[in-house]
Structure formats: C-alpha cells, structure tokens
C-alpha cells in the first residue's frame, strides 16, 4: 500500500536539541509554564487519565448488563456507575479533549503567533480542570452520584442521597476551565494572526475551534448558574425547582439543556476540524468547498443554541414548543451534513492513502453519519416519543461521540504526534488498533440501536430477558473496544523513546505547523511568518520542496 510518509534519513536524523520540551527543566517549569504547547501536553496526560477512569466505569456497566438481573451490583450502585461514567466522560474528557490538547498546541502555530492571547489564563484553565477533576474523584470515592449526568430535578434536588453538591461544584469549576479556553481561542484567532493570515486562509481546524469557543463562552455560564441553583435548592431549599413550593422542575431542564445541547457541538466541532485537516492531507487535495465548511461550523454553533428542548419532548413542555424545537432541530442537521458532503467530495479524485489518521477519519465519517442520521429520528417529535429514554438514545450519542468525536481525537493525536513529540508512532500496530477500535465499536453500539427500538429503557440495571442476546453482543464488543483503546497508550509511549525521527513534515502537509521543527521551539517561530500561500495549497508545497535544501528543524 502506498504511503505519503516522508521521513528524514534515520541514520543521521536527530530530534532537534532545542525545543519546547528541552527548553527548560524541572517540574516547576512545567507546572508554572505559560507555553501553550506544554499546557497542551499537561492536558493530554490529565484527560487520558480521566478517560481511563470513565472507561473503567463503562466496563462495569457492560459487565452488569451481561445478565438481565441486577446481579453484579445493586440498582443504586448501577445508577452511580452510569452517572459517573457520563460526568467523567463528558466534562472531564470529551469537552476538553481536542480543544485543550490539540487546540492549545496548534492554534497559535497555525495562525503564526508565538502563543495564545492569555497564556496565564491558559494555565489557570488547566488548574481549574484539575480541581474539577479532583472534586469529581472525591465525590466518586465518597459515594458517587446517582442522578444521571443530567441531574434531573427533583431527583437531584430532593430525593437523591448522594454527592450531588460536590459533583455540581466540580462541574462548575471544570466549566470555567472550558470558558477560559474558549475565551482565549476567540481572542487569539481574532487578534493574533500573522501578517497575511486572513480569515479565509485559516485552516478549518481554527474555524472549528472558533465556533466551538463561541459555544463555550456563551453556553457554559448557563450551566454554571443552573448548578448553583441546584446546590442552593439542596442546601437551603429555595424552592425554585420544587413543585411543592411552586417551582417547576422543567425550568431546571430548560436551563440545563440550554448549555448541554450546545455542549455536544462544543465536543464535536473541534473533532470536525481535525477531520478537515486529516482528509485534506491524506487525499492530497484542498478541502472541497472551504468556505462552506468554514461557515457551516459557525452555523452549527449558532443554530445549536436554538434546539435544546428536543431533549425535553416528553417532559411536559407545550406542544407548540415541541413543534418549534423539532423543526429547528431539522435545520441544525443541515450544516453537519454539508460538512460530510464536502469531505466526501474532497476524497473524490484525491490521491488517497491509508495511514492511521486517515483510517480513524474514515471511521469518523461513517460512524458520525450514522449517529447523525439517527439524531434525525430523535429530533422528529413523533418517533422521539417511542425512542427517547431507550437504548436508541444511548446508541445515538455513543455513535456521534465515540464513533465520531473519539475517533477524531485519536485521528488528531496520531496526525500531530510527530509534530508534538518529534517521533513517529509505529504504523502497522496503530493501523491495527484503528481497525480493532472500529470493529469493537460497531459490535458494542450497533446492537443498542436495536435494543432501543425493541424498547429496552436506558439507565436500568435489570432488563427483560429477551434483550439479553443483544446485550451480550454489546459487552463482547466493548471488550474488543477496550483493547483498541489500550493499544495506542502502549505504542505511543513506546514511540517517545524508540519511534522514528519524524522531521518537520512527515505527512508532506500544508499548514504553518508543518513548516517548523518537530517538536517546535518554545517561541514557535524564529521569525513571524508572512503568509502568502493559500490554505491547503499543495502546489505551493511542491514548489517549496523544489527550492529548499533539507534543513535541520
């Protein structure tokens, strides 16, 4: 199989001696750094840690669901397990995954800047994330939460006897981590672009993060106040969500989902940014309809604010609200579809190769499309009545978040691994891991669509015996999926010491990050670039290679 990988001569190549990792030594130089690249690496380690915690919780869920009875654990415990799984995976993994790691690392470089606009706030973001994570772990260890990650009232405010307050505070703090990251990105992309880097020369990765950042800044504060109100209700009984005092539990859901729906776009948009970069590079072609993809990112962000009540169709909102939100939900599917079409047309007549990032990207395109299409069934109020709160929903969001977002994250990590570390990961085993993940994923989650349609409710530890076969399939798939996720940890760590030297541009990609050394210098550029070439300009890249002598880092 052909490959576009082009590495320097391994007998003479060395990782550049002066780079952002070797620049300063000592633990404090990392813990007090303002360097966006170091912060990105700190985030990468932290979110990986929480990913495995969330994954362990998922393993427990699937183990319990092997049998129809709630025999592995009591129903109460099961409630805690799936709640913590959701909280950890969403707030401590998915939301920061691409933005805080790849976004932090790459955005300043992609726009030709030396750092983000507010490096200290960037570091503060990481510490807030850690505090949120620590509080979550504390809540988990001291008894967990059993309300579901959605904290629905009045369960969370009145009937739950678990650590709702601690977890609420944890998410509040982690939310501010997210807000500050988004704030940093918006200001950076507006104000710190290098000469010649106009908006329409920005890589689509930047557009995607810009759109996600708008959502972070405008949506997360509403979650913050909602959590404050839940805590106040639990502590002093203010009555704002309590029906016995005249409050409305649905109000909680309005406020909660006002953030939590845009949150899913916060999670997916950066992943879509990764896919744009990867597909372009491994098809050797400019992204088809750059402007459409750029604007559709912003459109997803804007429309994403208008559809939140589609999570509430059966909760008691007015029928007119159901109608309006259902219609708007159909609208928000359009920009996502535009992106899928544009990526497909990018592939058409491209020179496609199948390196690991591209395998993950293909996985993304297929699985996200399925997940997205099933979202249409859910957005249509009539079918939603049958499908909501069943395993159909669980399958839907796992297809878009795991089949979509997580694959995009892995694609991005593999794609930019050589840039961030100076080393290549081993190709064959990584391709194997990608395929194993894809197979495991489908085995795990496709049966769940069927289970949902057949009527199996979500969040139940025990289920009718006729559902067992599909559940066993799902658990078997989960074990394969687990292998698929463990492999990258092993070989990526291995590559840090033994991987091939990557050189500046192993993928022969366009983009400013590939014109500098791997790993980059702390200040990114020795001189601020003046951008004259177009984005995804492979002809320019060809001309550069003809004119350049091989240079060290």
């Amino acid at each position: 199989m052909s490959t576009i990988v082009s590495l320097p001569d391994q007998t003479t190549a060395r990782v550049p001696k002066r780079n952002y990792i070797t620049n300063e030594n000592g633990i404090l130089s990392w813990l007090l750094t303002g360097d966006h690249k170091r912060i990105a690496m700190l985030y990468l380690i932290s979110i990986t840690f929480f990913f495995f915690i969330g994954g362990a919780l998922a393993g427990l869920i699937r183990l319990e669901l092997l049998t129809p009875q709630s025999d592995l654990m009591a129903a109460d415990t099961y409630n805690k397990i799936f709640t913590m799984h959701g909280v950890v995976m969403i707030f401590l993994f998915l939301v920061p995954s691409v933005p805080a790691t790849l976004g932090n690392f790459l955005i300043p470089i992609m726009i030709g800047a030396k750092d983000l606009a507010f490096p200290k706030i960037n570091l503060l973001s990481w510490y807030l994330y850690l505090v949120g994570g620590a509080l979550t772990l504390g809540a988990m260890i001291t008894g967990g939460v059993d309300t579901g990650w959605t904290f629905t009232t009045p369960m969370s405010t009145h009937f739950s006897n678990t650590n709702v307050i601690t977890t609420g505070l944890a998410i509040f703090v982690a939310g501010f981590s997210s807000i500050f990251t988004g704030l940093n990105f918006i200001v950076t992309i507006h104000r710190m672009r290098a000469p010649g880097m106009t908006w329409f020369k920005l890589p689509l990765f930047c557009w995607a993060h810009y759109a996600a950042s708008i959502l972070m800044v405008l949506g997360t504060p509403v979650l913050a106040i909602t959590l404050v109100l839940v805590v106040l209700e639990r502590t002093i009984g203010i009555g704002v969500f309590d029906p016995t005092k005249g409050g409305d539990p649905i109000l909680f859901q309005h406020l909660f989902w006002f953030y939590s729906h845009p949150a899913v776009y916060i999670m997916i948009l950066p992943g879509m940014g990764v896919i744009s970069e990867v597909i372009s590079t491994f098809a050797r072609k400019r992204v088809f309809g750059y402007t459409a993809v750029a604007f559709s990112s912003v459109a997803i962000a804007v429309f994403g604010f208008f559809v939140w009540a589609h999570h509430m169709f059966i909760m008691g909102v007015s029928n007119y609200a159901v109608l309006v939100f259902s219609l708007l939900t159909m609208l928000v599917a359009v920009p996502s579809a535009i992106k899928i079409f544009n990526w497909a047309f990018t592939l058409y007549k491209g020179s496609i190769t199948f390196e690991t990032p591209m395998l993950y990207a293909f996985g993304f395109m297929g699985l996200f499309t399925i997940g997205g299409l099933t979202g249409v069934f859910l957005g249509s109020a009539g079918t939603d009545i049958h499908l909501t709160e069943t395993y159909f929903i669980v399958a839907h969001f796992h297809f878009v978040m795991v089949g979509g977002m997580l694959m995009a994250f892995l694609s991005g990590v593999h794609f930019w691994w050589p840039k961030m570390t100076g080393r290549m990961y081993p190709e064959k085993i990584s391709q194997l891991a990608a395929v194993v993940t894809f197979i495991g994923f489908n085995f795990t989650f496709f049966p769940q669509f069927l289970l949902g349609m057949l009527g199996m409710p979500r969040r139940y530890a025990a289920y009718p015996p006729e559902f067992q076969v599909l559940n066993v399939f799902s658990t078997a798939g989960a074990s394969i999926l687990g292998v698929g996720y463990l492999l990258p940890i092993i070989y990526l760590l291995w590559s840090l010491k033994y991987g091939e030297i990557a050189g500046n541009n192993p993928w022969q990609a366009t983009g400013l990050e590939w014109q500098i050394q791997s790993p980059p210098l702390t200040e990114n550029f020795t001189t601020i670039p003046v951008v004259t070439q177009d984005v995804y300009d492979y002809e320019w890249l060809e001309r550069q290679k003809e004119h350049e002598v091989t240079h060290v880092g």
């Binding site: 509403v222 208008f306 009540a309 909102v317 007015s318 029928n319 609200a321």
Partner: protein, 112 residues
C-alpha cells in the same frame, strides 16, 4: 498612549480605537440621563398602566443600560468587532429568555 513605541501606523485599520478619550461632560450628561431614567421608572411604577407597567419598566431599564454600554463602556467609540460581540451576548440572552418563556406561555394554549 505609547504611540512612540510603534514603528507602524497605529491607526491602520482601527480608526475608532481606544485613542478616543471621552470627555467628562459626556459622562456627566449620561449620568444625569440615568438619574432621570431612575426617577421615571420609580414614578411609572406608581401609575396604573395595566399590562404596560412591566413593559415600560423594562424599556426604561434597557435605555439606561444602553447608555451605560455605549458611553461609560465606550462601545460607541469602539470597533465593529466590539459592537458585534456585545450584540452576540444580548442576542444569546434573548434566545435563552425568549424561547424558554415561549414554552411557558404556550402551555396555557392547551393541547392544540
């Protein structure tokens, strides 16, 4: 302003930037307008205007807030980007309030 530190035209592309210093007289006039507005809104609450009471109250509050944003917070003299930013915040706020309230108001309309 540290103009002497620039080696390019400071005002390139930013004609209305922070260079503009708003005079105290403008501040004072706005201050008086805010006081008048406060008086009006207190007075209006003592008048019987039926459903228009809250409308008038919110309208006056919006006018006062606009004056503060435009003049005390310098938005009138700021770039289009800043104006757009404020607009985006207000817009999102209105979506939150408006669409939530729309659900509550339409519940009373019955089941179709």
């Amino acid at each position: 302003m540290p103009e002497h530190y620039e080696d390019h035209d400071v005002n390139a592309g930013h004609p209305e930037s922070e260079q503009h210093i708003v005079s105290p007289m403008v501040y004072f006039i706005i201050f008086l307008a805010l006081l008048v507005g406060t008086g009006l809104t207190i007075g209006a609450s003592y008048l019987e205007m039926g459903p228009w009471n809250p409308v008038v109250a919110i309208f006056i509050a919006c006018v006062k807030a606009t004056l503060v944003v435009l003049f005390f917070m310098h938005i009138k003299y700021s770039s289009k980007l800043m104006k757009l930013t404020v607009g985006a915040g207000v817009f999102t706020f209105l979506i939150l309030v408006g669409m939530s309230l729309a659900d509550y108001f339409t519940r009373a309309w019955g089941q179709w």
